[in-house]
Subunit: 269 residues, 2 copies
């Protein structure tokens, strides 16, 4: 038994359908995933205020399969520890599911301990469809995967991604490392998976907005590289819709980051 | 060119995410798919009232990939004919998508011309998931596919399905023909596809409620047959949730009904 007077540190992996939420982080003007989760956690911890930390915000409408969340609990939950995950899932709306919950070391932090993240963006080239279109960007003519591949290769590495972010304060550093961008086809769906050490505000949706022009044959990889080099937001194309983006996994060691591979589209189970 | 004074008869195949609708058919107490579709059709036909007929109602929360709809238009749409499908999809919410629209003969009727239908029910045996759980019944222990297969075989054929319907008027005929029930596994998903000449009110969800007991090893095929033979609703188990059910296709000839095969779960594109 651990010391009953000591805080227990928990790690959770959380999946959510972001469609009806104003993103992860608590906002004054609408419902967020964090708000709903903390409300239910409060109930489980006898109405104490439980504050959660995540690996980072996700924007309004963005989904997660593996958002990482940590919190310190001042006491044992009113359910048995191993039931925390099940009890939470019974209380939460179906749009938010806890996929894992376990005790971690006191110093473990969802954001500060992270080594990197994987995001997947889903393009649907198929017939209009009320199911997969909920979680993808429907673009019938997204067929130039060769130019898309070349364009992605220009973006991999250590770059100043100023062209692919918005609302950035000039003083902030815009240098990030993209370790790899993988393209997978599953029937009519094309999934682009970005693995990196961290991403700027709206960076992946900005990259996708420009990559969509490559995938539809409207621009060449050279132009994508020029946009990157310009370090000017105005050079890039519009931001891609939030509904196609999934935070897939947060990595806490290099090994699991290297091994990560998309086996199927994020919403195929 | 067809006679401009003659009605044009249209056939459409409509897909919808039924989660937020009170079913297909117009109701006084909530939003239905038919109401939304007729409102948009009215706009396309210069504010004339367009009445649609479907192959049949679907209940609140039930989805469709191929609901069949016919209507008579008193004039040409205000868009070019070939654009009807695209114009409607631009006006409709994303939860309702027109997959096909074409002119048909004057006597063609979505319900009366139908030879049969296919429905698919989706069971999810995987981890809790806000995506596929939206459109399936999550049952972790649904593993006895052998007893499930045997139970399905007892239900195929011409039977009085009184045990598997609700709110039936005693005078109505409850005899229906199930041509086949196919079971497909796609990763953690188990899909049961029912092909028949027609189905009673809540018949497939009633069948699934009982088949779930076979799939989880709680009853044997013999008991499923006894429930069928009893012709008593009370003998059957609870009705399965609406969210796992999809109207897949309406058939207008025997050949296409025979050839129909589920290639992937209904919401995998």
């Amino acid at each position: 038994m651990s010391d009953p007077l000591k805080n227990i540190r928990w790690f959770m992996e959380v999946a959510y359908d972001g469609t009806d939420y104003l993103g992860w982080q608590i906002q004054p003007d609408g419902l967020t995933v964090q708000e709903v989760l903390e409300e239910k956690l409060g109930m489980i911890y006898a109405n104490q205020l439980i504050r959660t930390e995540s690996s980072g915000r996700t924007d309004a409408g963005v989904h997660a399969l593996g958002q990482a969340v940590t919190f310190s609990a001042p006491c044992r939950p009113i359910v048995q520890d191993w039931k925390l995950y099940k009890a939470l899932n019974r209380m939460l709306p179906q749009s938010i599911r806890i996929r894992e919950a376990r005790e971690v070391e006191e110093k473990f932090h969802a954001r500060f301990s992270a080594a990197g993240k994987a995001y997947t963006y889903v393009i649907n080239r198929g017939l209009p469809n009320p199911f997969s279109d909920r979680w993808s960007w429907n673009m019938g003519d997204f067929t130039d995967l060769c130019e898309l591949r070349k364009s992605c290769d220009r973006l991999v590495g250590v770059h100043d991604f100023s062209s692919f972010t918005v609302d950035r304060k000039e003083i902030d550093d815009a240098v990030r490392t993209i370790f790899r961008i993988e393209i997978h086809e599953f029937g009519d769906l094309v999934c682009l998976t970005f693995v990196g050490d961290g991403f700027l505000y709206k960076m992946i949706r900005s990259l996708m907005g420009t990559l969509a022009f490559a995938g539809t044959g409207k621009i060449k990889a050279d132009e994508v590289e020029e946009i990157l080099q310009s370090r000017k937001r105005a050079a890039a194309h519009d931001t891609a819709p939030a509904q196609g983006l999934f935070l897939m996994k947060v990595f806490y060691d290099e090994e699991s980051m290297k091994k990560f591979k998309l086996e199927k589209p994020p919403f195929w189970n």
